[in-house]
Structure formats: C-alpha cells, structure tokens
C-alpha cells in the first residue's frame, strides 16, 4: 500500500525568506501524480502545485517549486519570498488507483504547519 510521510509537523520562516517542506512516499507504481495542498485557517483546501511522475522537470508555480526525486521517492516543496499569507497547513498527497475502473484515491500526509514570522 502507498504511504505518504511528512516528517516536519511544524516549520517557521521569516517573511521574504525561503523555506522547504519535505515529503516522502512509498509506492510500487511507476506512474502517479503528486500534489501539495495548502489549508489556511479558513479550512479551504487549495491546490498549490502538482507533479506528474513521468515528467523529470520539476513543477513550478510562481513562488512555489518542487524538488521531485523519483528514485528517492521524495517530493519537497520550496516556497520563495515567503509571505504572511503563506501561513497554513501544507499537505502532500499521492494519487493512487482505487478499486474499480476510473476511481482515483488520494493519500495524504499528516501535514506541516507553516508559520511565517513578520
């Protein structure tokens, strides 16, 4: 069974600095997707970035980028120029394949709470 591990329960970063959140996963599948979601206190889960496993190039979205190491099964999120609005819980997720055609289940890590210090 697939697992997703986030080993950092909490991280802090100074405003305008860079922070990296780690995520490792375990799977026997060769093709899959990985995601980072952000959950601010409002509870809304917001997609930050996604990575297709078959792509070697690391995904980037403005200030957010990933370091995807497929062989090491590592998928870290780098936030550059951190802003106060980046403060949230960040969840790493793996998209596996459920039972039955067309069902795709997500497996979430336990989350990392990011604090941004002014």
């Amino acid at each position: 069974a697939q697992t997703v591990t986030q080993s950092q329960p909490e991280m802090s970063v100074q405003e305008a600095e860079t922070v990296t959140l780690s995520c490792t996963y375990d799977t026997s599948e060769s093709d899959y997707y990985l995601f980072w979601y952000k959950q601010p206190p409002s509870r809304q889960m917001i997609l930050v970035i996604r990575q297709e496993a078959y792509k070697q190039q690391n995904a980037t979205e403005n200030r957010f980028s990933v370091n995807f190491q497929k062989a090491a099964k590592s998928f870290s999120l780098k936030i550059s120029d951190s802003q106060l609005g980046d403060a949230a819980m960040y969840f790493c997720a793996y998209r596996g394949f459920g039972v039955g055609s067309g069902t795709y289940k997500y497996i979430f890590g336990t989350g990392t709470r990011l604090k941004v210090l002014a």
Partner: protein, 116 residues
Amino acid sequence: SAVISQKPSRDICQRGTSLTIQCQVDSQVTMMFWYRQQPGQSLTLIATANQGSEATYESGFVIDKFPISRPNLTFSTLTVSNMSPEDSSIYLCSAPIMGDITDTQYFGPGTRLTVL
C-alpha cells in the same frame, strides 16, 4: 479549477441525531469524494460517490453510518447518522474536474461538525 460549495458550513448537534451535508459542484463531475478531517489531523477518505451507482466505502466506514446520495453529476450528500462526540470533525467533499487528465481534486470549504 472548479467551484465547490458545501452546506452547512458548521453545525452543532446532539448525540443520537443525524446531519446531512450537501456538496454542490459548478460543473459536471463523474466522481465525488467525501473526507473526514479530525481536529489537527490529516484527511481520511470516507467514500467515493459515482453517479448512478452505490458509493464505495473505505475500510472503517460503513453505509449505515455514512449514507451517501449522488442523484446527478453536480450534487452529492453525506449523512452522518446516530452521531456521537467522536464524529466531531470537519467533513470535506472534493471532485476532479472532467477533462483534466491529471484528475486533480478540488475541495469544498468543509463542514465543521460538533457533536455534544
């Protein structure tokens, strides 16, 4: 992306009662997912709801406790039945958008349930 709404946003209920949570998507989707997020925890998948078929429940979740309806391609409900304080959680629905080959899931704002 997609706009997903949920009703109610929060509720406080007495033990032994039931609450039905509604999830509305602004476009047609084939699959909808229901998650539970206990305080300070990650998301746990309750079930997958496909239109026109029975929901598929994950281990530890049963239809009698969490009946799900999926009457059309834009709407689903989750009922939390015979509630106990252990059911106090945030319940979220999500859906991947048709035509998105990555099947990225978009989430509703969640329903915060407190059971007394």
